[in-house]
Amino acid sequence: MLELLITYAPKFFDGALMTLKLTFISVSIAALLSLPLAILRRSKNSALQLPIRLFVSFFRGTPLLAQLFLVYYGSGQFRLELTDLGLWWFFRDPLYCALFTFTLNSTAYQIEILRGALQAVSSGEIEAAVAIGMTRRLIYQKIILPHAYRIAFPALGNEVILMLKGGAIASVITLMDLMGRTRQAFSQTFDISVYFWAALFYLLITSAFVVAWRLLERRLTRHIDYHGVNNLPSTSSATMTGLNNAS
């Protein structure tokens, strides 16, 4: 069993790097996109609101696997049109296709998280800011956004982990991430322990991330009284709940 690990460790390592690359690039781009969209989503103008709602609903209501197939193989059907538009170089590459799909998916989830967080900022705090004559922009900058991100922080951490795990399907479009390397190793050895090693790798990555995220959270929210919350034995796992789907 250990022999197997030594033989395949370099490949596993490559795969893990690919997994991390896929996750963090798509989650980061999605983080940039989701904020303006979340603010627009709260607008009362339905012409602005409706397309965002449809976008969010579609990407949250369909399997990531189906989305990936649609983008990758679906775009292949429109090679000529995409070449004319000068976009084929982008869709030709499986890595770009995966990043594109994962980014859209993560954007949809992050919009929902931020929308909830923006809603949770108490109107009293906003009124207080209005009362001292702050501009709308300033209120967003100084009051609403810092507060909203603090509220959204744990859910955003969950989203990163969901993406990390969801990204395991990238091997169906030839990307050799950790899961892809694992399946390859299994097809060469038929040895079930390959999957156990992969499980260990994934657990290491996710646990390391959970710990890092919680440390970051504690730094960012030093001023908030966490008495009795941080000491619960279960919060480390609670950070990973899949509840970021909650709308």
């Binding site: 193989y73 775009s75 292949g76 059907q77 090679r79 030709r92 499986p94 091997s171 169906v172 030839t174 050799m176 399946r183 390859q184 299994f186 097809s187 060469q188 038929f190």
Partner: protein
């Protein structure tokens, strides 16, 4: 009364579920195939398995006068599932290679094996040596001999491994990959016979190195199933001798795939 019935039902259930078909004489042979590898094995629009492998296997079963059922299984898991007992024999145009022989036994070959490069018709590629393919994108189905061949000999090419042959074909059509390596016969069939394969053509010399293509194509069985293997070999010889093989062959191919002549 009720007690008796439930006891009876229970014993019936027990006898059926875990030890089904213990009686060797009436045993149904379960045949595993991929179902994504036309024209050898594929699903038709009725959702039924069809193709050369399937018809040949059926002919063998008729010859042996046993009942057969077909099970579709992804290529990746096709040997593990055989070993786990999901079916008794793989008839899925599998090359007889040394590596596979470590895990399974093979019947006598029922096709000759060779691999080939396939490129788009508008492609300018002519040199298919590792140097000539330097920096090019080559696709193949994962967990196959083609994949092993590419990984071993084409370290400077971008090798992409797909879950199914269909997916490789799709990406060759769309031009995502510069070339693919596939089994000779299905590639021949695909480029010559199907409308979507019209895009592409075979290229370069056939790859026949036994190190990669092995000793032909065989049916794979669990190593302890010698009895079934011998019966299959007998039946195979018989269907070749009585012309059944040729009939099925001609239904699907223009060449004789047993000899590749």
């Amino acid at each position: 009364m009720n007690k008796h019935i439930s006891a009876l039902a229970l014993s019936l259930l027990l006898s059926v579920i875990p030890f089904s078909g213990v009686n060797a004489a009436e045993k149904t042979i379960r045949i595993g195939t991929e179902g994504a590898y036309p024209p050898f094995n594929f699903f038709n629009a009725d959702g039924k398995l069809a193709g050369f492998d399937v018809e040949l296997a059926q002919a063998l079963c008729d010859k042996m006068q046993t009942k057969c059922t077909f099970v579709a299984q992804d290529w990746d898991g096709i040997i593990p599932a055989l070993l786990a007992g999901k079916y008794d024999v793989i008839v899925a145009s599998m090359f007889i290679t040394e590596k596979r022989k470590l895990k399974v036994d093979f019947s006598d070959p029922y096709q000759k094996s060779a691999m080939t490069f396939v490129i788009g018709k508008d492609s300018t590629l002519t040199d298919f040596s590792p140097e000539g393919m330097d920096g090019k994108i080559i696709g193949a189905q994962g967990s196959t001999t083609q994949g092993d061949f590419l990984n071993a000999l084409y370290p400077n090419s971008d090798i992409r491994l797909y879950p199914t042959q269909d997916a490789v074909n799709l990406d060759l059509i769309s031009g995502r990959i510069d070339a693919q390596v596939g089994d000779m016969i299905p590639m021949l069939d695909w480029t010559k016979k199907s409308t979507d394969g019209n895009c592409c053509t075979l290229a370069g010399e056939p790859i026949t190195d036994p190190k990669y293509v092995g000793d032909g194509v065989g049916m794979a069985l669990r190593q302890e199933d010698d009895e079934l293997r011998l019966k299959l070999n007998e039946a195979l010889a018989a269907v070749i001798a009585d012309g059944t093989y040729k009939k099925i062959n001609d239904k699907f191919f223009s060449v004789n795939i047993l000899t590749l002549q």
